[in-house]
């Protein structure tokens, strides 16, 4: 609901001063692209596109601008610069998850939603992903919401809501 995928049947969801339920379907798509970055439990990509093209597509869909420089810069920060021309199916799960992060951040969103970002990763990759999420969301000034049951991840963050 916070990602604008479902509409509230009552009440209101506001992000950055915009009430989501007041937006039309089309406006909501645009808002989601621009303001919300999502990282899913399992990463999906457009299989026919390379890593770089996936990032370009995400940027283009949200802003109408392919923003290749920024995509390359993000990949460099994630230590994936060498994989830019590969298909996503050629990458490991950890690498894919890092690309998901890059894709979530390429539009400089004000909110990053991460759903179990580390659950399918080993300790080492989980640590890398956690560090990156923290570092980058601070760097780009995005609010970060992580849903997880992963103890490794919980230890890293202090402000948690336990349900």
């Amino acid at each position: 609901m916070l990602g604008g995928l479902l509409r509230p049947s009552s009440g209101s969801v506001s992000i950055a001063g915009t009430a989501l339920e007041s937006l039309s379907e089309r406006q909501l798509d645009a808002f989601r692209g621009r303001q919300i970055g999502m990282i899913l439990q399992e990463s999906h990509f457009v299989a026919a596109l390379s890593v770089l093209e996936n990032l370009q597509l995400a940027s283009w869909l949200a802003t109408g601008n392919q923003n290749s420089d920024r995509a390359l810069q993000l990949l460099a920060e994630l230590d994936l610069r060498d994989h830019a021309a590969k298909y996503t199916s050629q990458l490991s799960i950890g690498q894919k998850q890092r690309i998901s992060i890059a894709r979530a951040l390429i539009t400089s969103p004000s909110l990053v939603l991460a759903d179990e970002p580390t659950s399918s990763l080993d300790d080492e990759n989980a640590a890398i992903v956690t560090q990156l999420l923290k570092k980058l969301s601070q760097e780009y000034g995005a609010a970060l919401i992580i849903v997880t049951h992963d103890q490794r991840l919980k230890e890293q963050f202090t402000n948690s809501v336990v349900l």
Binding site: L5, A30, H44, A47, A58, W60, A62, T107
Partner: protein, 430 residues
């Protein structure tokens, strides 16, 4: 970006793409080939009957008479005596009459005894040299000259019959006096001589006398042509020519008639069939009959091609629909990244349309390659060539629209499915 993604998607699934493309290419190629063949075939046939209202010849199949005398494609029905043909050629209803006499060939190309009027009828002017004047002087059609490398002044021996390898007439060499310009009609593949050459080769008894007779005459004939091209002049030429001839020995194969009075087109066939041993046939009628016969076959092939197009449409549909399941997450993900529903619709329709456009281009090209091959065979066997470079804007434009329409219909259901994809449900099942 959507277009680029669509292209990348097509390339990412080479087998699906190849199947759809092969089917599309095949159907477009067959249809465009048929369109071109039919169109050019009919044009070729119609071009050659310009200015021929009726053909007078020996009794037999009227279609055979037309094919042999107008298109030089079939064996002649037989010969008719010149004097009985004269009666009709001199009829006041006749505007012009061109006699034709077959007998010999040179390396498979027919040598036709006729009058210079024949080449005028086809608008074939001389490329080099002069028109035949004496016996055994010939004018060569452009295609033959090119194929056999013939030059003005060269001599050759004709052989009997209308196919290569007949008995060679060694005592009567022909001399080439002229080469005609290309016309795209049957005359390109003919060797023309005067009538008496044909008679002379085939053993008239008083040979020498004929030669002098015709010599004198044909000079006179040419002289008159320079003054005027009026048909009446030519007509009187022929009557004077035949006046010299000895009727009982002279035979011709057919006469191409142009009528002054169109009523004769209707009345003559019965009149001549009832009163003489000859027949007249109308090229227009016979060619129409031929087209109707051909038409059935062409139509059947066309239906086949449309069938293949339908199958290629179904193949695109199945390919898109099948990948929909695995691409569901891809679509959901694009929606998360800010893609509207319309973007997904566009993506799928684009993929299908790209396939169709590529298939259409391939099809048009391979159809023309096929036509080029067919043209090569046809020019050897039937002395008929087709131009693969001709574009039928109207018909092929329609074909293009049909192809695009097929692609659009095939993409419709998958596109709507992608359009109405529920993102949160899709991702919840991930």
């Amino acid at each position: 970006m959507i277009a680029k993604t669509a292209l990348k998607n097509i390339r990412y699934r080479p087998l699906n793409t190849a199947l759809s493309l092969v089917l599309l290419t095949a159907s477009v190629a067959i249809i465009s080939l048929l369109l071109l063949l039919q169109n050019q075939f009919e044009k070729k046939f119609s071009d050659n009957i310009d200015g021929i209202d009726l053909v007078l010849g020996a009794k037999g199949s009227p279609l055979q008479l037309i094919l042999s005398s107008v298109y030089q494609m079939d064996a002649p029905t037989g010969n008719i005596p010149l004097d009985s043909a004269q009666v009709w050629m001199k009829n006041p209803f006749v505007q012009s009459a061109i006699p034709l006499s077959f007998g010999d060939n040179y390396r498979g190309f027919k040598i036709v005894g006729t009058t210079p009027e024949y080449s005028q009828k086809y608008g074939a002017t001389l490329l080099s040299g002069t028109m035949f004047q004496k016996d055994f002087e010939v004018v060569v059609g452009n295609a033959i000259a090119e194929k056999l490398g013939l030059k003005v002044g060269q001599k050759f021996l004709g052989s009997h019959g209308d196919v290569e390898g007949g008995e060679v007439h060694e005592d009567h060499p022909y001399v080439i006096t002229g080469i005609l310009k290309p016309t795209g009609k049957v005359i390109d593949n003919l060797i023309l001589s005067n009538l008496s050459s044909v008679w002379a080769v085939h053993g008239s008894h008083d040979h020498s006398e004929e030669v002098t007779d015709d010599h004198v005459h044909s000079e006179a004939c040419n002289h008159e042509h320079e003054h005027s091209d009026a048909h009446d002049h030519n007509h009187s030429d022929q009557s004077s020519e035949t006046a010299h001839a000895q009727p009982e020995t002279r035979e011709i194969t057919a006469v191409l008639l142009k009528m002054r009075n169109k009523m004769a087109l209707v009345t003559w066939p019965r009149l001549i069939a009832a009163n003489t041993n000859m027949q007249v046939a109308s090229p227009a009628v016979e060619v129409n009959r031929l087209f109707t016969l051909f038409g059935v076959g062409i139509q059947a092939l066309q239906y086949l091609a449309y069938g293949i197009m339908l199958i290629s449409g179904i193949s695109i549909f199945i390919a898109l629909y099948n990948t929909l399941k695995e691409r569901k997450y891809e679509f959901a993900l694009m929606r998360i990244s800010g893609a509207g529903r319309f973007h997904l619709l566009k993506l799928i329709v684009f993929e299908s349309l790209f396939l169709c456009v590529i298939g259409f281009v391939f099809g048009i090209i391979s159809g023309r390659i096929a036509l080029y091959v067919i043209s090569g065979i046809a020019s050897d066997e039937y002395k008929m060539t087709f131009s693969p470079l001709e574009v039928l804007w109207e018909e092929e434009g329609l074909l293009f629209l049909l192809t695009i329409f097929t692609g659009f219909i095939a993409a419709l259901v998958p596109a709507i499915k992608a359009y109405s994809l529920n993102i949160s449900k899709t991702l919840a099942n991930a």
